[in-house]
Every structure is written in structure tokens, then in C-alpha cells.
């Protein structure tokens, strides 16, 4: 059996099945939906950071742009929700294209520029001068398309697509070439890899994923403000979840989301400061003692982790 099929059968299919069944058993649907959203975002970060080494510190920019793409299409063009989600994905890709020049930067410069880009999009969308188009800082309300059940299903579809993309990267020459570029761009290009095209494709795929996730999110919550959908927490959580599990693998980000986001919801402090404190310490401990993620505990012993 080819390993791509194995990964699909034994990792992706069970995960999707579990999340498809859970709403019937477990009452807190919003929590389940958030799990799916973070699974998508963490895998999106995995595509760009795990396979190319670019740290998207402003990843939420695509997510928020997708959410607003969805909102504008529904508000001004009365589009059906499914079409609007697709457009949200395209908005993500368009923003990604606009930001491709950032890929010329390396290391921390890319991360900082990406963070600045996401904040620029936030301030652009939230500008009172654009109230006619985006409703500025006053937020949007999309009661017409409100349908949590369908939106949850759409989120599962997006998750399936994202996982499919990661499985492809993990098992294809393309993914291998990307990892070669990440390790050493010069050697990779000597070996005949088109470095620029590879990076741009990975970047746009991860932008598409985040845009779709943003559209689905807008569909599900239906009332939101710029500060909600552009909240830096989405970027940070997605990055930390992906790193905690271990990037450049299929299981890593999944394990990261389920463990960390699960703990996050289990602890549920009444005072957010204590939570922030514990979270900050956890992040620091992660970087200092387990920089390659949970997966590295297994790979260090020579076990293969997909």
C-alpha cells in the first residue's frame, strides 16, 4: 500500500470521522468548531513553516481577510454562503499574492514583516473611513446566512482538503523538494529545484487554507468585529500548536492542537491573567526544552512518525 493512502486511511479518515460524529454526542458545538478551525490553521502553518521554514507571524491576516471577504460578499452581493466561502479562500490567495515579495526577506525579517502586514490589513479593514464597505470598527452581522450545522460541515471539508495537502507534501517529490529548499536553498537550486516557484506555491496554499478557514469562521459565528477575526491569538496559537506537536509531519500539529487546546479549555481559569502566565511559561519551556516538538521524542528513539 502506498504510504499516502496509508496516511489517508489511518490518520486523516479517523480524525474526520471522529469530528463528524462528535456533535451528536457532545453538546458544546462551538468548542468542537474551534478545534476544527485550529486544526486547519495549525496545518496551514505546518505547510508554510514546516516545509519552507518561513515563520508566518501574521498568519491571522489571511484568516481575517477571508472572514471579511465572506462578509462583504454576503452583505453587498447577497451571495450564497458556499460561494462566499470559496471567495474567502480566493481573498486569502489574493492577499498572499500581494505579499509574495515578503518571501524575499529571510529569517526574522520575514516574520516581522508578516506581522506588520497582518496589522496593516487589520487597521485598513477597521478604518472608520471605509465604513460603507467593511463597516469599519463597528463589526458585521450576517444573520441571513446563519447556519451552524452547515458551517461545521464546511469546516470539516476544509480540514479534509488541508490534511490532503499536507499528506501530499509529506509523500511527494514536491514536498521533498520544499524541505530541501528549507535546509539549503542554494544546494537545492543546484539540484534543479525551482526555489522561487516552490516557495510561492507553498505560501499561496497556506494562504488559501487560512482564507477558507476565515470564511467558514465568519459563516459560523456570523457576528464579529475586526479585532476578533484579526486577533493575534490565532497566529500565535496556530504556531504554538504546530510547534508543540512538531512541524513537517502530519501527526504533529494534530497532536499539538488536541493536547494544548484541550488543556486550554480544561483549565478554564476565571482570571485570564493566570492563564496567560501559565501559557507564557509553557511556550518558553517548549522552546527551551523541546524545540522540535513532541514528535521529536519519538524520532529521537528512531521510531518513524508520519
Amino acid at each position: 500500500m502506498p504510504s499516502a493512502l496509508k496516511h489517508m486511511l489511518f490518520i486523516v479518515a479517523p480524525l474526520l470521522a471522529v469530528f463528524a460524529v462528535l456533535p451528536g454526542v457532545y453538546q458544546n458545538h462551538l468548542l468542537l468548531f474551534n478545534f476544527v478551525i485550529f486544526l486547519i490553521l495549525a496545518q496551514g502553518v505546518n505547510i508554510i513553516y514546516g516545509f519552507t521554514g518561513y515563520l508566518p507571524f501574521g498568519y491571522v491576516g489571511f484568516f481575517g481577510a477571508g472572514a471579511y471577504g465572506f462578509a462583504i460578499l454576503v452583505m453587498h452581493y447577497q451571495a450564497p454562503a458556499v460561494v462566499a466561502v470559496l471567495v474567502a479562500g480566493l481573498v486569502g490567495v489574493a492577499l498572499g499574492l500581494l505579499l509574495t515579495p515578503l518571501l524575499r526577506l529571510s529569517g526574522a525579517y520575514f516574520a516581522i514583516a508578516n506581522l506588520a502586514a497582518s496589522l496593516a490589513v487589520l487597521h485598513f479593514v477597521a478604518n472608520p473611513a471605509l465604513e460603507n464597505i467593511t463597516r469599519g470598527p463597528y463589526g458585521v452581522s450576517l444573520t441571513g446566512t446563519f447556519n451552524p450545522t452547515l458551517a461545521y460541515t464546511a469546516a470539516l471539508v476544509v480540514l479534509a482538503l488541508t490534511l490532503g495537502a499536507v499528506v501530499f507534501l509529506k509523500n511527494s517529490r514536491f514536498g521533498l523538494a520544499l524541505q530541501a529548499v528549507r535546509e539549503d536553498a542554494v544546494s537545492a537550486s543546484m539540484a534543479g529545484v525551482n526555489v522561487v516557484r516552490m516557495r510561492v506555491i507553498a505560501w499561496l496554499v497556506s494562504a488559501l487554507v487560512a482564507g477558507l478557514a476565515g470564511g467558514v469562521y465568519a459563516w459560523y459565528v456570523s457576528v464579529f468585529y475586526p479585532d476578533n477575526v484579526f486577533s493575534g491569538e490565532f497566529s500565535i496559537f496556530a504556531i504554538v500548536f504546530a510547534l508543540f506537536g512538531g512541524v513537517a509531519s502530519i501527526c504533529g500539529p494534530i497532536v499539538g492542537v488536541i493536547l494544548l487546546y484541550g488543556i486550554y479549555n480544561l483549565i478554564g481559569f476565571t482570571t485570564p491573567q493566570y492563564f496567560q502566565l501559565i501559557y507564557g511559561l509553557l511556550i518558553m519551556g517548549l522552546v527551551l526544552f523541546l524545540p522540535a516538538g513532541l514528535v521529536s521524542l519519538a524520532t529521537r528513539r528512531g521510531w518513524h512518525v508520519p
Partner: protein, 308 residues
């Protein structure tokens, strides 16, 4: 109007240079992104609150105090965090996440102890030491401490004092880097870390000193934050970090004069946009940062070192 915007821009710009210079030093020497930079600014502001409310004296006295405290904090933090970080596969990227965690911890601890309310200091408090000296030593009359006149326009005295302190601090950093032995070693580490190591320079000691000085300068800048921005909350750090990055990148890395120029350019742009296009003023730092990174990644005074 234009003159007011320009002069206020220069005053703010000098202050902004002080805000960015610590970050410049840390990134230039260690290639580490101190995402908690803004939080050290915030802590500096809290030192100023402490000095004013506990001792009831001029917050200028907090400047040496904050610098010494955070110099020691920085050296300590360096030894706890950085050597371990440098040993990992991708220290530059991981430092972003590590210091994000640190900034969360600082913000949380400050909130737990001081609450989330906005704090400000009466701007009259700053600079009272000067009028006291004038009265005591030279027998002058105590004046009202009103606005300072520059080119026929009135500016708050606290802005002028902050700008002057920033100038002095930048001059001292310059003296440190170019006129002392440790400073020369610091510049050697900045230009080539591994070669500096190979020539027998104690890279860790030099880096620890730079890290401490960087945090100390951030805290000093923080003392003036309540006067320049009106008030400070524990959550103030994150915005301050991005602004500092814009300034540092605008100038150039490893060059304190570059940061001073970057700060002034930034301050003037900021004031001009705020005067003529106020609803878009929030966008400025981010757009400026992206454009500078793309068009001239080495900054206004830099060499080309940074393109991938």
C-alpha cells in the same frame, strides 16, 4: 501647523530612537528577536510610577535606577535563556516564539500585581528637579513649568525633556560602542559572530552585556512613555514592540546613529500623517515597515546584508 508638526515630529522622533535603540543592540549582537522589548518599556514606566508615588520625587530619578535594575535583569535573563536557545536548530525563529512567551509572562505578572487600569503621571512631575535647582542654587523664582517655546510654538516641557534624555542616551551608546574596549568587541561580534569567537573573544560575555544594556535602554525609554503616550497599561507592550521594529528597520542594524535617524524620520512622518490624515495614522508604522523592508532591506544607512 506644518512647523508644529515638524518640530513635534523631531521631538517624538528622538524619543522613538531611544525606544528602538535597545532592540537594535540586542538583534544586532545576538540575531535574537526580543519580542518582549515593549514589555520592558512598560516595566520601565512602572518603575517611574513607583518612584513618583512612593518617593514623590521627579521621575527623572527613575532613569539611573531603572537602567541599573534592568541591566542586571538582562544579564541574568541572558544566562538563563540565550545559551540554550543558541544551541537549537533555528535560534532566530525560535527566539521570536520564546520571547513572545516571555512577553506573555511579563504582561500577566504585571496585570496580576497592578491590574489592567490605565495609569498616567501628571506631566508637571517631570522636570521638577530643574526648577528646584534653579530656585535653591541660583535664587531664581519658581516658574509655572509651562510649555517650552520653539519657533514660536508651545510644546509640553515633558516632550523636550524626553527628547533631550534620548539624545544623551544615544550619545552614550555611541561612546560605548566606539570608544570603549567592550564596545569594540561588541561591534566585532555584530559583524561576524563566528569569526569573533574564533579570535578568542568571549562572545557570551559581550552578548550578555549588550542584552543587559538593551533592556536597560528599553526601561529608560519606558519611563517617558506615560508622558509621551498619555497613559500606560500592562498590555501596552505589544504595540510598542512593533513600533520599535519599524524604527530599527527604518534606520539600520548595528548602527546607533541609524536608529536615531530612523526614529526622527518615523516621528516626522507620524506627526505629518496625524496632522493631515488622522484616520490613517494607525496604518503608518506597518506600511512604512513593509515598504522599507521590501525596497531597502538594509535600512537607510545600512550595508546590504539581509536579503535572502
Amino acid at each position: 501647523m506644518l512647523i508644529y508638526a515638524l518640530v513635534a515630529g523631531v521631538l517624538f522622533g528622538l524619543y522613538f530612537s531611544l525606544v528602538g535603540i535597545g532592540l537594535n543592540l540586542v538583534f544586532g549582537v545576538m540575531r535574537i528577536v526580543n519580542l518582549a522589548h515593549g514589555d520592558f518599556l512598560m516595566l520601565g514606566a512602572f518603575v517611574a510610577f513607583g518612584v513618583v508615588t512612593l518617593a514623590g520625587i521627579d521621575p527623572l530619578f527613575a532613569v539611573p535606577l531603572a537602567f541599573v535594575i534592568f541591566l542586571m535583569v538582562g544579564v541574568l535573563l541572558y544566562w538563563v535563556l540565550v545559551p540554550r536557545l543558541q544551541g537549537s536548530a533555528n535560534p532566530e525563529m525560535l527566539s521570536i516564539i520564546l520571547f513572545f512567551g516571555l512577553s506573555q509572562v511579563i504582561e500577566a505578572v504585571t496585570t496580576i500585581f497592578f491590574g489592567t487600569s490605565e495609569r498616567s503621571i501628571q506631566s508637571r512631575a517631570l522636570g521638577t528637579v530643574f526648577s528646584t535647582i534653579k530656585v535653591k542654587l541660583f535664587g531664581g523664582k519658581p516658574d509655572a513649568g509651562g510649555p517650552v517655546q520653539i519657533f514660536g510654538q508651545g510644546f509640553p516641557a515633558s516632550w523636550v525633556i524626553a527628547a533631550a534624555t534620548s539624545l544623551i542616551a544615544i550619545a552614550l551608546v555611541y561612546v560605548y560602542l566606539y570608544r570603549t574596549r567592550l564596545g569594540t568587541l561588541t561591534r566585532a561580534v555584530m559583524s561576524r559572530r563566528d569569526e569573533a569567537f574564533a579570535t578568542g573573544i568571549d562572545v557570551d560575555r559581550v552578548s550578555a552585556a549588550a542584552f543587559g544594556i538593551g533592556l536597560g535602554l528599553a526601561a529608560v525609554a519606558g519611563i517617558f512613555a506615560p508622558f509621551m503616550f498619555g497613559s500606560v497599561t500592562p498590555a501596552f507592550g505589544a504595540d510598542a514592540t512593533v513600533t520599535s521594529f519599524a524604527i530599527v528597520v527604518l534606520g539600520s542594524l548595528g548602527n546607533p546613529l541609524g536608529t536615531a535617524l530612523g526614529g526622527v524620520v518615523y516621528g516626522v512622518c507620524y506627526m505629518l500623517v496625524q496632522t493631515y490624515l488622522s484616520s490613517w495614522a494607525d496604518l503608518l508604522p506597518y506600511v512604512l515597515l513593509i515598504f522599507i523592508l521590501l525596497l531597502r532591506p538594509s535600512g537607510l544607512l545600512g550595508r546590504r546584508v539581509r536579503v535572502a
